[in-house]
Symmetry: C2
Subunit: 500 residues, 2 copies
Amino acid sequence: MKIDELYALLRRRGVLWPSAEIYGGTQGLYDYGPLGAALKRRLQDAWAAWFLGLSPDYHRIEPAEILPEAVVRASGHLENFTDAEVTCEKCGTAFRAETLLESVRPEGVDGLTPAEIGEIVRASSIRCPSCGSTALHVPRPFNMMFGVPLGVAGTERGYLQPETAQASYLAFARMWDVARRSLPLGIAVIGHAYRNEIAPRQLLFRMRSFTQAELQIFFDPAGFPVPFDRVASEELPVLRAARRDAGATEPETARATELVASGLPEFYVYHLVQTYRFLRDVLRYPAGRIRFFEKSDRERAFYNRIQFDAEVRFESLGGFREVGAVHYRGDYDLTRHTEGSGRDLAVTPTGGAKILPHVLELTFGVDRNLWALADVHLGRDGERTVWHLPPYLAPVSVGVLPLIEKEHAAVATELAESLAAAGVTVQYDDASSIGRRYARMDEAGTPYCLTVDGGTVGPGPEHGSVTLRERDSKAQERVPASDVAARLAPEFRLPRPSVR
Amino acid sequence: MKIDELYALLRRRGVLWPSAEIYGGTQGLYDYGPLGAALKRRLQDAWAAWFLGLSPDYHRIEPAEILPEAVVRASGHLENFTDAEVTCEKCGTAFRAETLLESVRPEGVDGLTPAEIGEIVRASSIRCPSCGSTALHVPRPFNMMFGVPLGVAGTERGYLQPETAQASYLAFARMWDVARRSLPLGIAVIGHAYRNEIAPRQLLFRMRSFTQAELQIFFDPAGFPVPFDRVASEELPVLRAARRDAGATEPETARATELVASGLPEFYVYHLVQTYRFLRDVLRYPAGRIRFFEKSDRERAFYNRIQFDAEVRFESLGGFREVGAVHYRGDYDLTRHTEGSGRDLAVTPTGGAKILPHVLELTFGVDRNLWALADVHLGRDGERTVWHLPPYLAPVSVGVLPLIEKEHAAVATELAESLAAAGVTVQYDDASSIGRRYARMDEAGTPYCLTVDGGTVGPGPEHGSVTLRERDSKAQERVPASDVAARLAPEFRLPRPSVR
């Protein structure tokens, strides 16, 4: 679907809508309604089950989301977390330089000074998209963090975290003591990140508040053992930096062993494959719509030694977009926070020598992937609109429908309650025709419906049985109501990686 | 336990610690570690299962947590969300007036002007708790919201939400269309609230960022039907405002029917009882440590028509503290937002007349209740330290322990993985003696341990069986490993209310 059509459907079904909608909305902020909030929670649970399932030494924490100024000074965000903007002197509108210059400079403007950006603007004779003027001006870079005063005096200053990663670095020393005092040690956070975007746009793609799921793995650079044999033969769709430099625009297929042979470390490729499997096997994005885009030396942040962005092709956005990434960050973060805090963050594993761990970061945009789950799985299927979500991600697991409200409500209600007590997410619906109710459930992604009818409540051979209808095939069969919970339970279990 | 001892234990076990600890901590902000984060998620899930289980017309949403200025102007927060402070002219320290005057004015200072507070300070000849000076000064009230500029120009202003309730009022119009266009309609939010506290203190009791679970129920004031017969005979520990005025300090037991006879609406008492049951039956606070404290006309906010605070007696804090509340807010909120937004929020249910719904608010402090779960359930039991958490709240459900690592690790790992695949939260522990491992699990609140030993792996009659140990009784029995998941599953199910 096109973006407008998809967004209209999601708004109408209460998946999401503009925040403070009755006040005209707030740019870059969205509210998730019942279906969206449930899908988001399941997506987060699926991420946690998969990535924390990689090792018993990967742990999930929940840190506060405000950082004191000393932290963002040490991390470099106070100085460098800026966005170049271009403002129109005639109409006053501000634009992100990167967006405005997309057509003339597709590689972006990271690292350029305002003067250099100004030169490109002048040379390209680009016009203001709002009013058409050429009076475009490039002011100082704009820090994208939201600052807040702490306390009455306002002398202490805090910042809404621009990414969840910093909180994991701050927690490393405490977690070293809490966990097994051994490496690798993984710290995962699912939390909000806040960025004062100059121009929020493309719905869930450039929001002012969004949710990240990130895993920071601290490891000994002398050795990060992984069960590489479990991924060795996997084939990944990659677009390498060197091939791009040579003009390639399409990904090629590379075996994990080939990537290692090309110089990437085994631990890196292992986690890249696990990321691929999560996108392909858990979120069920078609393999042909996934690619791993390698950032070149020029494109990635200076502290990242290796970076592949995980990208998905969005129909609604007309191309590939980043939904996650794997960053090898070296010892940058612990070095900076050792300097900033005065606390030596080097550790001495039992029987080993003192070392400053390196960091491998797996990052994942929760909102972007929620959008991808709509873009990829929600669409027309003949007359129907169906959201083909994997059953374990569907906001509602089972719809319970009395065929005739007056006659079948009692038994249907009882069935719904017994499923709910067994931990199944149920929605009871007795409004309108059975066809329209199936249609509503299809649109919401509900994988199974149970219909209670005359046979269920009557004395005949169908007594106690219900019609089980599967969403994608529309196949219906008669099953004993008492068997349903146990039969469907495996469908609702979150997949976990096989690591041994 | 005393607060210092309890906090030290929670820090050591990585339940929680000061945020940005390596930088000396940030006042009023805490990080939850693996055990704390897992407990917090389960507590939230338990709240949702219970309160959303009250009606299929109660829905959970996840709104953005930044409100535009027009919203907090309409809600009254811009003008009134202030805290009176007293500052010492000698040492410069600022104190909350309410805290400083607790001993001389236990009813608080809400509604008093700075001049009136200054008069009380002078009359009481109170001294600065920091330096002992009597040079105390009462400045203008201090707005406790954190403001943030939105966008480059900074002309648009947002505020971190001071409570989750406003987001539900903003969502009402959209939810009316998304849900069944009928009343009652409940909107639940579990999210962060932010308050720039003058003096954060008592750990999780006055934080600058904390988590609320709130349910706003919109209903027709002409009739809010509830299954009152399900709660009629329940006896509640209440401290009524009138009895307090007459000098009472201890709660009395009142039957739900008596509360209704005294003039409280049935819908109100019904939700008060369900709140009581959640605290007593789900969180398992002893009945004798719970009371419902009625706020008088003088004490409650002017828009609240009825207010009972749910209070729990904390050993670590030396008395009863508020952990939740039930507020009957009338039509205040939708009236204010109708005026503020220009959007008429009155609705016309099918076949009914146009009405502006009233609001019943159930509010619950997640962090405070997490602290209560430690205060009430974590303590010494002879030689042991045991966290007697209800099994469905425990961060780890089952500990899997190979008796001798070398001999039993393979079978134990396999068992742990099969339990994890079945959705059980497992922790595998092979470090140190079995007694020390049981002790660690007891302290973490793990309700069950499974020990794999020679019998399990040997060819004899105990082949395939493990020792199941229960935390509270320390009772051990031999059970087939293959039966464990099914046998324990009911223990891990979240309780739901019986509403029919």
